[in-house]
Symmetry: none
Subunit: 203 residues, 4 copies
């Protein structure tokens, strides 16, 4: 069940698409899982949208469940890398907050479906141990940031889960309000939202 070897682009084409079918499958599945849910999406539908045969999906993924886990981990990892890259551990909390918020906003604006995908698939029973562990690591990272900011008295005291629930929940709320109404948020709106939330949680 090893995925087909990466197809090298013929010489002469710069930066040729590699594993394009695998990517097409992941993209199509992500969209459909967001639109219809995991159980509401049929594998042949994914194949159709990806422009491949139904059997082809099983050359890249062991099962539908493996596919959803692959998407989850891919997105979660990518998201973590982009959001947490070179995180300024020593900077003031105000700056850390702004940085995290705006990076999240940037990523979520660029990949709204991926963001919603991750939201919807939290804690679903088809996520395997590895996906759950990854989720937990990301959560721990954020919790650490909150706890140390509280220790410095730059964030309000209170259960860290409560603080994080509020901030992340509000972030999701902003995204959803814009996806549901098919509108895109302006940078100005993101900045306003960031301002509002900072005032909410600052010490």
């Amino acid at each position: 069940m090893s995925p087909p070897a990466t197809t090298k682009a013929p010489a002469g084409e710069k930066r040729a698409v590699v594993h394009d079918k695998r990517e097409a499958i992941l993209d199509a599945a992500l969209e459909l899982f967001v639109e219809r849910g995991f159980f509401g999406t049929a594998v042949p539908e994914i194949a159709d949208r990806a422009g491949v045969g139904a059997g082809t999906i099983y050359r890249y993924f062991d099962s539908k469940e493996a596919l959803v886990n692959a998407i989850y981990r891919q997105q979660k990892t990518q998201w973590g890398h982009l959001v947490l890259a070179d995180f300024p551990v020593a900077a003031p909390t105000r700056e850390q907050f702004r940085l995290l918020w705006m990076r999240m906003a940037e990523w979520a604006t660029a990949n709204p479906k991926a963001f919603i995908f991750m939201e919807l698939h939290h804690h679903q029973r088809y996520l395997d141990a590895e996906s759950r562990a990854l989720e937990q690591r990301m959560l721990d990272l954020f919790t650490g940031v909150v706890v140390s900011a509280q220790a410095r008295h730059e964030l309000k005291a209170g259960p860290p889960r409560l603080i994080m629930g509020i901030v992340m929940g509000a972030f999701v709320g902003v995204i959803r309000s814009c996806v549901e109404f098919d509108q895109s948020l302006e940078t100005a709106d993101w900045k306003l939202a960031e301002q509002i939330l900072w005032e909410a949680v600052r010490a």
Copy 2:
């Protein structure tokens, strides 16, 4: 198609169980839809958990879809009544905010699964026109409150959807953080969260 007639309680038992099977089905389905999603839940599973035969579900609901819509409307309506009853239109926004938040907290603490159910099933394609209309009416009510509070300069200016997205998103975030960790929030936590959010959106 019409549900079986209400069974009158034998005299002597006040307000005895009425339509108990229908209620059992609604309760079981609500739980399962939250745990596994609509498509992830098999009708016989609902019947099992409700303690009735599979066919019995179809004496009370035309289809699985009708069942999910019935739950959605029941919960949404109940929630609306409890949260908006005697809404103090003329009161200061600070008071309105506290009232809404604490009522929502009360209801969501008492019915956490119902709350999550409503969140998850927003805008799903198996919701029918009536359910969507109900959702829209509730949304309009809240939007009205926000807009008039903004007009009085008691809430921050900005797109009302953004404000509402933040507040409702944060509320959901609080609920989820507690359901996911199987912990119940104390009244003190709810008050803290209320305080935080009010500081976020106040003018």
Copy 3:
């Protein structure tokens, strides 16, 4: 499983309906079996059309199969009695033929659904041994008439089954052509048909 005792009409009502539910069930079932077939008809539909509860059917008949057999035997027997009553064994074939045909026509005109019912349910696997035996006795009676008429050289020679198939088939064809077009046959048409068929089979 004995049928409920005949309900005597209260004194004062002359000629009261007796076993009216049983009759209503038989009538409703006959109609529905003709319209939709045996397997295409649901027992509760029969109950609805008969104006009784679904359970009531099982007070009069052991099962759906018992019901269809009861109808089959009732109609076949009634038909046999009316058509063959006082059959003039010694009369010329011409007269016998006319008598049989016109009696059949009379009965089929009065009970078109019953006639079609008997046609449709020939040799179906839900007919039990007794119904089949009854069918066979009726067939033997007719065959006897044909054979002895052939012996007297008043009917064409040839396999008796062929002759009977032609005559009975033609009779059914006439009935169906009129039922399918929702028209009723005039006595003149029946006489014409009789004339035609007699000329077909006479020696």
Copy 4:
């Protein structure tokens, strides 16, 4: 929904089996619908007899209803082509009658189940508009033949439906009498029947 592409026979085998599964399904369903009726036949039974998986039926036909309509149209069309090919419009009615009868006999002897299938499924509610229209066209063709023969005074006068009902009914009666007794008719019998019916309807 589109049936799988026709499998080309390997070179060397002329006219090899093409669409064999589709044919197998049609054949199995035809037999079973005749034996047990439409509602009395379960789809998996059809699959079993056809030697395919249950799901396979749905690769070729949208539904059980679509399947019965496909059979009806296939048989009706085939029958029409064979019986009416090169119909000698100008020939004497005697000749036309013999030709039609013997062709029908030939076809019905070769495909007795198909013939009975068409008889049984006339005017059933699962036949769709197209099937009904086809049936009507065939009926109109025959009616035209009868009417013009009557105009030439070569057939008895009388309602054309009556004449056709008699002839077609008699034909069906002959077929059924032979199917029911599991015997095959000799050519001599068919000729005798033809003679009998001609004498019935000739002017």
